[in-house]
């Protein structure tokens, strides 16, 4: 005999159906269109478009810079969340609101301001220039822009988890003789790890797709500071729709695989830590 699991709330069929239709309209169909458009090319044409040295260089920059930016945000986002949760100080509310700023700001505005500041004659740029550090119009500038737009993700995912984390567990660790570092990496870090990973993957995903804030500061020199989204726009402007979608398809597939890997890692780490 089969037993059917009773759901406490009714409407599973309806809500699932609605979700699938909604996701299809908003996400799946547009993405499918990318792949359908790509099929206009034969495989050899496709391969030729997506593996030109100039395009390969953009993959390296986009994924490399996104990864570095997400890692920077992982560390400093955690630090920011920690400060916002653990300490009381003057201006805390303002700092808290400031974190969301990169979300609200039009990315082009962010790009222009960052460029103005980091350009060789800008506020920060003219201090860095004499030390041989060039930010604007280099890959380093791309990392700066991607770090800027990805900042809120880690802060906002970790903050609520840290707030929920009981001070008692920390006190328990201390009473058992653990020093501060041991308390952090043995007790606190495992508890916030899933949230950190989520924030990291969101920041990374956002960085891969970022266009507006990067193109101003990057300088867009072929082989050096061109990002993949720019490559797609360039193709579109030349009415090369099939070429643009081919590169977009590659970007999509790589992003999907990376996000899937992060999700697997997350699933694995939360299961290793017992039923929740």
């Amino acid at each position: 005999m089969t037993t059917r699991k009773k759901h406490l709330l009714p409407g599973f069929g309806l809500s699932l159906g609605y979700t699938l239709v909604y996701l299809s309209l908003i996400v799946l169909i547009p993405l499918a269109a990318v792949f359908i458009r790509t099929t206009e090319l034969s495989f050899n044409e496709f391969w030729a478009v997506v593996t030109t040295p100039r395009v390969l260089a953009t993959y390296r920059l986009t994924f490399g810079a996104s990864l570095i930016a997400a890692l920077i945000n992982l560390v400093f986002g955690l630090l920011t969340a920690w400060v916002l949760v653990r300490y009381q100080f003057f201006g805390k509310k303002i700092l808290d609101a400031l974190v969301d700023f990169p979300f609200a700001l039009p990315t082009a505005v962010a790009g222009i301001s960052l460029t103005a500041i980091y350009a060789p004659n800008g506020w920060l740029g003219h201090w860095l220039e004499p030390h041989g550090i060039k930010v604007a119009f280099t890959p380093l500038g791309v990392v700066v822009a991607l770090t800027f737009i990805g900042l809120p993700f880690v802060v906002r995912t970790v903050q609520p988890v840290l707030e929920d984390f009981s001070a008692e567990a920390e006190e328990a660790a201390a009473s058992l003789g653990a020093n501060r570092w041991q308390t952090f990496y043995k007790v606190i870090l495992p508890a916030i790890w899933p949230a950190l990973l989520t924030g990291f993957s969101l920041a990374f995903a956002r960085a891969v797709g970022e266009y507006g804030s990067v193109i101003f500061i990057a300088g867009n020199m072929p082989m050096i500071s061109e990002i993949t989204p720019l490559m797609i726009i360039t193709k579109l402007e030349q009415y090369d729709y099939a070429g643009a979608t081919a590169i977009a398809a590659v970007l999509l597939v790589i992003s999907f695989i990376l996000l899937l890997l992060i999700n697997v890692l997350q699933w694995w780490s939360s299961h290793r830590h017992g039923a929740r």
């Binding site: 009981s166 008692e168 567990a169 006190e171 328990a172 660790a173 201390a174 009473s175 058992l176 003789g177 653990a178 020093n179 041991q182 043995k186 007790v187 495992p190 508890a191 830590h273 017992g274 039923a275 929740r276």
Partner: protein
């Protein structure tokens, strides 16, 4: 290890949580800090542990001033009200935590840790749960694991904050007997905080009754129950009736009142408004004729059956013992 507390005071902003506390906990005793919520008992416990620092006064462990020693150096085992188990670690790893974080020179080998942890889990009778995670355990099991974890570091003092507060009545009763037996086995100096007088009376060697940040009375369960030092202690430790007497306020326990149908010298008349007869004791609720206040009386079942009082009839009360403050 004995604990001496000298003139401890502690305030939180405007609120004065503890005022000039002096207390001596002899080595090997099981002491209860008993009082209503907000009386400062938990703050005192946390000061002993080193989780809170006093504004004034000293904490001595075996005569050595430990007031400013860090919680890590005090060698106290602390059991939290809500267990504070590490939820991402197995039961085994929770108990092993205190051993694993030791510096390499004093850390036991893996084999020793394994043996120690299993011994402790056997002591708390939960060896079979070693590979589970805390969210999979019941409240009583979690509390026993928390205790095993605290004992793993071989603390000189065991401190328990409302250890049974979050458990249901039946589990609570079992656990407090079990704690008593465990203490008799280990003889580690233990202090526990509770607001439940029954719990304190049943488990502790010595009860410290606290109110409004001050110690009201220190004594054996029998002493604080039979000879309360203040009206507060009288009212906090069990039911009590208050009578106005020419000398002041008099206190009488419900079983220290004689009831009869005949008026006597200085007896008080009243109407029997309610009879509650479940268990070995029969509780009578009597409304005084003179001032309409209610008086609680407890009689043995046999005595009640002989007298056979009926609800509504007029009876005469006479305290057999009266303590006046």
């Amino acid at each position: 290890m004995g604990i001496t507390i000298q003139q401890i005071s502690k305030g939180f902003g405007q609120f004065s949580a503890l005022r000039d506390i002096n207390l001596n906990v002899p080595s090997g005793e099981l002491v209860a800090l008993l009082g209503p919520s907000g009386c400062g008992k938990t703050t005192l416990l946390r000061i002993i542990a080193g989780l809170e620092s006093p504004d004034n006064g000293q904490v001595l462990f075996d005569g050595v001033d430990t007031t400013h020693a860090d919680v890590r150096e005090r060698q106290v085992g602390f059991v939290f009200q809500h267990y504070a188990l590490f939820r991402h670690m197995t039961v085994f790893e929770n108990v092993a935590f205190g051993l694993r974080v030791r510096p390499r020179e004093t850390r036991p080998s893996n084999a020793e840790i394994k043996k120690r942890v299993h011994d402790l889990l056997k002591l708390v009778q939960l060896d079979w749960l070693a590979d589970r995670y805390p969210p999979q355990l019941s409240g009583g099991q979690r509390q026993r694991i928390a205790l095993a974890r605290a004992l793993a570091v071989e603390p000189k003092v065991l401190l328990l904050d409302e250890p049974f507060g979050a458990l249901d009545a039946k589990v609570r009763k079992d656990l407090r007997r079990w704690l008593r037996r465990l203490h008799d086995e280990l003889h580690v100096t233990s202090v526990f905080v509770t607001h439940d007088q029954e719990e304190a009376l049943e488990v502790a060697d010595t009860i410290v009754v606290m109110n409004h940040g001050q110690v009201e009375q220190v004594g054996s369960p029998q002493a604080v129950y039979d000879q309360p030092a203040t009206p507060f202690v009288y009212e906090f430790l069990g039911n009590v009736n208050a009578f106005e007497t020419p000398q002041g306020k008099g206190f009488v326990r419900p079983y220290e009142i004689a009831v009869s149908r005949e008026p006597g010298l200085n007896s008080i008349a009243g109407a029997l408004t309610y009879v509650h007869s479940v268990g070995s004791l029969v509780r009578l609720e009597i409304k005084r004729t003179d001032n309409e206040q209610y008086v609680d009386v407890e009689l043995g079942r046999e005595q009640f059956n002989q007298l056979n009082f009926q609800q509504g009839e007029t009876v005469y009360l006479k305290p057999t013992q009266l303590r006046v403050f």
